[in-house]
Amino acid sequence: MPDGNHYVTHNYKLRSSGLMPIGPGQFLNQTFGVDDYEITTYEASFTISKSDDMAGASYNGQYVLASWQRLPYLTLDGRQVFSGNMTKKPLFRDESLIPG
C-alpha cells in the first residue's frame, strides 16, 4: 500500500429519483440514501497502489479508482516519490450523513 503523509476525504453521491412535479413550480425530489466514497490522497508516497488493491482485479480489492503521478522531485537520498489518490468502494449510508 502507498505510504507517507495522506488525507482522507469523503465524497457523497445522493441516490434520488428524478424531479417529480407536484404543482405549479413545485417539484418533489425523493432520496434513497447516499453512496459514500472514501478518497485517500497521498502527497508524497514511495510506492503506489497495486492491481490487487483494485476491486476489479482482486476479490479482496477495496478500491475502485486510483490515480498516480510521479513527482518531479527526488528525496535527498535519491528515491522517487509519487502523489495520487485512491477511491474506495462506496458504502451505502443514510442521507442524513450529508453535511449541510
Binding site: N5, E43, A44, P72, Y73, L74
Partner: protein, 208 residues
C-alpha cells in the same frame, strides 16, 4: 565563504580580459518540503546572462545594425537514473534569427526572407533622422566574434566555454537561449548572451 563578498566589477576575476560589461548568474535547486516533513529536491537549473564588447576586426561598417537569435529548448526530466535528477534539453526546432540593418561579417545566417523596416518620428522636429533598413529573417546562425563565438550546432548541442567553467556549478551543461548583437557607429558593437544550464552533480546543503 561569507554569505556575500563585495568585489569591484572592473576586476571581476572570472571573466576579466574578455571585454565583459555585465554578468549575472542565478542558480537554483528546486527544493520543497511536504506537509509530512519530507524534503524533496527537484531539478537544478540556472541562467547566466552576459553582455560584452565585440570589437570589429578590420571591417568598416557605416550603418547601424541589430541581430537577434532565439533558441528553443524543451526541458524533459529524468529521475530514473542512479538516484539523480537529470534535466534534458531537447531542441525545440530551428533557431529564429533576424538581422536588421548591417551585420558584421562575423555573423553568418541562412536568409529566407527580407522586408523593409523603419521607425520615423518627427516628434522632436521635422529634421530628425530616421533609418530605412532591410530586415532579414533566417536560420543556421553562427557568430565567430568575441567574446564567445557561437557555432551553428548551438541549436541542438550544449556549449562548452572554458572561460565560464569557473563560475558555473560543477558538471553544468550550458545551452544558449538568446543572443543579440547591436552596433551603432562609431561605437564598439555590443553582444548579449543568455544561457540556461543544468547540473545534476549537486548535494542539497544549507551551506555554500
Amino acid at each position: 565563504m561569507a554569505d556575500c563578498v563585495c568585489q569591484v566589477a572592473g576586476s571581476f576575476p572570472y571573466l576579466k580580459d574578455m571585454g565583459i560589461i555585465t554578468a549575472a548568474l542565478r542558480t537554483n535547486v528546486n527544493v520543497t518540503v511536504t506537509n509530512g516533513g519530507l524534503v524533496l529536491a527537484g531539478p537544478a537549473l540556472g541562467d547566466l546572462s552576459i553582455s560584452g564588447y565585440a570589437p570589429l576586426n578590420s571591417e568598416v561598417i557605416t550603418c547601424p545594425g541589430n541581430v537577434s537569435v532565439n533558441y528553443n529548448w524543451v526541458q524533459l526530466y529524468d529521475c530514473d537514473t542512479d538516484g539523480k535528477f537529470t534535466v534534458y534539453f531537447v531542441p525545440g526546432g530551428h533557431e529564429k534569427a533576424a538581422i536588421e540593418g548591417t551585420a558584421t561579417e562575423q555573423i553568418s545566417l541562412e536568409k529566407i526572407s527580407c522586408y523593409r523596416s523603419f521607425n520615423a518620428s518627427a516628434a522632436n522636429g521635422p529634421a530628425t533622422y530616421y533609418l530605412d533598413t532591410a530586415h532579414y529573417d533566417g536560420y543556421e546562425f553562427s557568430y565567430s566574434g568575441n567574446p564567445i563565438s557561437i557555432p551553428k550546432d548551438a541549436r541542438y548541442n550544449n556549449m562548452e566555454i572554458s572561460a565560464l567553467s569557473e563560475i558555473l556549478p560543477l558538471g553544468s551543461k550550458l545551452y544558449l537561449s538568446n543572443f543579440s548583437w547591436s552596433y551603432t557607429p562609431p561605437n564598439i558593437p555590443i553582444v548579449n548572451y543568455s544561457f540556461l544550464f543544468t547540473y545534476d552533480d549537486y548535494t542539497v546543503s544549507a551551506t555554500c
